[in-house]
């Protein structure tokens, strides 16, 4: 029978590196999925997964055993993803002044004119368009939306994971949905 996370975490805290290996093997795929949705890049997602476990290992003694280990890992992964996105933006700002303050809304800079909806559907470009829209969301909007829509987390858990009030998480999700609708509804309706 598979041991629960809390039992394995207790073993890992007692210095059993084999137990930590179990946690890595158990949670890596979920973390990769979250990190990819957050960053939009495979290599970045790989880096986030690795960094998440390194941080988790170092902070294992601080983990509250009453909490869910998976949620705790998600929180670390979300923060790692946000750190990476910020670092990426900072580097881009060094070479692209358009990314500075006063730059147009990223939503406006999405590829246009769009290909015809049937072609989009056939070629999978809708998926790419979705990724482009997700990339234009604010950090909080994207994180909250990814956790709610793709990971199926309830709003209260998202608030806890991100360290914000549930209401704040909820409004971030609303804003994300509004932006997605604005960008995708014309395509979807015409399809």
């Amino acid at each position: 029978m598979e041991l629960s996370d809390s039992v394995v975490v207790a073993q890992a805290r007692a210095g059993d590196s084999g137990a930590f290996r179990v946690l890595v093997e158990r949670h890596s795929r979920n973390l990769f999925r979250l990190a990819f949705r957050m960053t939009g890049h495979q290599q970045d997602a790989e880096d986030v997964v690795q960094e998440t476990f390194l941080r988790a290992y170092k902070q294992l003694s601080k983990f509250d055993e009453r909490a869910s280990f998976g949620t705790w890992l998600y929180r670390i992964a979300a923060n790692c993803s946000l750190d990476l996105i910020r670092a990426r933006k900072r580097r881009a700002a060094q070479t692209e002044p358009a990314a500075q303050e006063g730059a147009p809304d990223p939503m406006q800079s999405l590829p246009d004119p769009s290909p015809a909806p049937d072609r989009l559907a056939l070629s999978g470009e809708i998926g790419e368009k979705v990724n482009a829209v997700l990339g234009g969301l604010s950090e909080m909007e994207r994180t909250a939306f990814v956790m709610r829509h793709y990971e199926g987390m309830c709003i209260d858990d998202i608030g806890r994971t991100l360290g914000v009030q549930p209401n704040s998480a909820k409004h971030s999700i609303f804003r994300a949905v509004q932006k997605l609708r604005r960008a995708l509804e014309p395509l979807v309706s015409a399809a």
Binding site: S28, C80, P97, F174, L187, S189
Partner: protein
Amino acid sequence: MMNHLTEEQYVLYYYGEGDDSPAVRAHLDACEACRAEYANLQRVLNVVDSAPVPERDARYGAQVWNRLKLRDKPRGWPWFFPGRHWAAAALVATLIVAAFLAGRYYPKGQTGAQSAKAGQVRERILLVAVGDHLERSQTVLLELVNAQPGQSLDVASERERAGDLVAENRLYRQTALHTGDTGVASVLGDLEPVLLEIAHEPDRITPEEVESLRRRIEGDGILFKVRVVGSTVRRREATAPPPPSRNSL
């Protein structure tokens, strides 16, 4: 009958959240306009699911574990500068400094305004680089200061990073001296011997050596100085003009 549904109600209902789901359901059954609106939302959110995610197979967790090599490197290192990039980072630092100094001393063929603007841009690039350098140095120092007291410590990762930081530190300090930035030069001068000491540690150090290193870092106040100068540099970086756009004349 309740008023037409709000967008927030649609979203909460779609995700099965909110307390008024039965009322929303009843309204949707009765109101054609809201039903159509909700169908639009459903279509968009269903399409969002089509965004592809690369698959990772069942062996992925084991691959991650192998990459982590926790038994050998339990201290970890920041993802934004993984080991394989350190040599490249030192090279980039050299190029930045060389470009900065070349531009500073040989502004041939430029008007006064162009030259001043180019100088500001170079200064910004250098500030960004120095800011990053101080952040990475701070990370190394913090990891050592925050080490568990009374235990031996694997510092192979910190040692390797400190070795690379020393090379960069020298370049930036010399540049700061050239440009008259004495505050930055002074802190980089204080930082250098500490980085050197870390770079010359063995892979694993005893609890006494950990304590000695911690006392050295804390006694010199180097961490505090790096933090202060780092944030000053970041502030200057934020107010310095960005590089010109590609289309500018």
